[in-house]
Structures are given as C-alpha cells and as structure tokens.
Amino acid sequence: MTDNRMEWPLWEVFVRSRNGLAHRHVGSLHAVDGTMAAELARDVYCRRAEGVSVWVARSADIVASDPARKDELFEPMVSKVYRHPTFYEIPSDVKNI
C-alpha cells in the first residue's frame, strides 16, 4: 500500500490560445507523469476552448531568477534608454525611418 500523503509531482501548465501565439503560463497541477499532466491540463485549464496546444513542465525543473536580485539584474536595462527607437530625434520631414 502506498502512503496516503504520497504527493504526485507538481507540473506547470502552458497553453497556446490559438495558432500563431506563444504558449502562456496558466497555472499548475499535480500528475504522476507528463502524459497525465497534459491530459489533466485539458480538463482543468481548457474547459472553454482556451487553447489549441498544451505544454507541461515539472515545476522542479524550472529555474527562476532570484527576486532579491531583481534590481541588479534588470535595472541596467532600464537606464539604457538609447536602446529604444524613441530616444532618437528625427525631423518629421524625414519619411520612412
């Protein structure tokens, strides 16, 4: 007999809402393996035609950035305004640029 507390692993679910769009994270669920996770994802997250494709990935396999390091990771990009096209002033007479 198995332990009642035995916990199925957690899976993150990503759904492509229609062709041409990227898969988007919608939530998570427990399942014994990937096949079961994808099947359950249909019932839990796609009861109203929310998607045309499902990805599942073990939550434990996802590597995330550390929220405590948010500033040092992302701030340098915020201060580099010259990376955006709006930084540059072009006379309005100049077309197609």
Binding site: N4, R48, D66
Partner: protein, 333 residues
Amino acid sequence: MYTQGLDQRAPEGAAKAADDAAALVAFQARIDAEEKIEPNDWMPQGYRRTLVRQISQHAHSEIVGMLPEGNWITRAPSLRRKMILLAKVQDEGGHGLYLYSAAETLGVPRAEMVEQLLAGKAKYSSIFNYPTLTWADIGAIGWLVDGAAIMNQVPLCRCSYGPYARAMIRICREESFHQRQGYELMLKLAQGTSGQKRMAQDALNRWWWPSLMMFGPSDKESIHSSQNMAWKIKRVSNDDLRQKFIDVTVPQGHFLGLTFPDPELRLDEASGHWLHGPIDWTEFNRILAGDGPCNRERMAARRKAHADGAWVREAAAAHAAKRANRQRAKAAE
C-alpha cells in the same frame, strides 16, 4: 465560487515581532504602490499565514460545494439541465484546483490541505452545510449563492498576492454562467405552474439568509478586516459587499414575482439602498462550529470520495513508476 470571511479571531501578533521592521515597511510600501507580491518575494509571516488560511478555505469551499449540487445531477428534469449542471459542478472542481495551486505557492503541500479538510480541522463556506431539498434549490444556488460569490470574488481579482489574484480572474470569468443559469432556472419555475412557483418561492425563502451570511460577520465583529485591508488581501468590507449584493438581487427577485423572507426589507429612498432586517449570527456560528444541517453528511461524503479514489491514485503512481523504470532500462541498454 465561494470565499467567505470565516475568521473571527486574530492569532497574529507574536509572529509579527519576528519580522524585521525595515522589511515590513518596504513590504507595505510595495503593497501601497499596488505592486503584486509573488511567491518567492519576502512577505511577513502573518501575510503568508492569512493567505494560506483564506485560499485553502476557499479551495475547500469549492470542493465541498460540488456536493449539494452534485446531489441533483441524476435527477435533473431534462438533458439540457443535466448538461448545464454537470458543467457547473465540473467548474467548481476546477476552481478548487486553481485555488489549491495558488495556496501551494505559499509553501503548503496540497496533501496537507486535503488532510486538514478530511480531518475536520479546516473551515469551508457555511453555505454548503444546507441541504438541497428540491430542484428549485439548484436555481436558487446559482442565482443567490453564486451571485454572492461573484460580489465577494470580483474585488479579490485585485488582491495583492499575484497567484491568488490570477486564480480569481479565471474563476470570475467562469462564474457568470453559473449565476445566469440559476436565474434562468428560477425564471422558468416562476413562470410555470403554481406548484413550480411555490417551489421557487420556497427555495428563495430557505437560501436568502444563508446567502447573506456568505459575506461573513458584520464589519463591527470582524477582527481580521483592518490588517487584511492594509495588506490588500481584502479590498471591500463584508457589510459593503453584502449591501451591494442585496441592492442588485432584490429587484431581480421582484422581477421573478417572488418575495423575500425579510419583513423589514425596504427601499430607503434617500440612500437608494435596500435595508434589511437583523441576520441570525447564532445560526452562522453554529454552522461554522460544525453543527449545521449537513456538516456531518458533507464531511462523510468527502472522506468516502477520497477513500474510494485511493486505488486510482495508487494505480496511477504504480503505472508511472513502471514506465519510468522501463525507460531507464532502455536508456541503459
């Protein structure tokens, strides 16, 4: 569907001192700036504990909430109504799963939450401890209970905790169908034979006061409210939500040609609000303490369902282990 202000005691205090004062200030500043708090962010212990309690109670409510309506699936009067009810009950199960997932992001294993429910240690919404005696109860639940749940849940879509807010957005999107099918059912009965109309009136009589109790104790009694408001876990007070619900629901009932079981109910011309008579909070407290008409039956049904499903969980785990072993053996070849 159904979150409810169940908490009337304030266990916080001791734990708060343990949190670093500066971190607390920074945390509150994020909340005040309407930033969402995400699972790996620092948060005060009280915030985490409150959310675990609220989200898990909410999840339990969805799961137990499948029982009163599930009771009528096999007796639905037409195939159309049966399909609708099946879809609704399936939605409630789905809502429970979204919410358990949201609670798990706070570090509580799902099995622990389920265990607490089955052991009778966890609370769930008082509304599900009332019986569904007639088919009209299915209409009254959709119209009133889901209607009250929508009032409660719409502000939760803006809750400061990201995973909870996102789960609530999904749930609210699905909830509108629940309420509309219920009102439509009531409308059919109200326009039917005198017997059907009586049945609709009887259901409204029984579900009205329990629905008002779903908003939880009055603001004067609810100790948790102020801290939860500051943390933006709760965004609108129990009494304000209840009033809003009454104001939209009473005209809907009158449209059905039904009356409300409250002799003091009257429109206050000056404020535009429907004023109601006193709510019987002793009944509410009795049900929360486990002594409602169906508390024992609901818990027995949950325990039986969990025990009856044990072999499925074991078989699925054994099958997955077998396949994983086979794959490992193949890889070693």
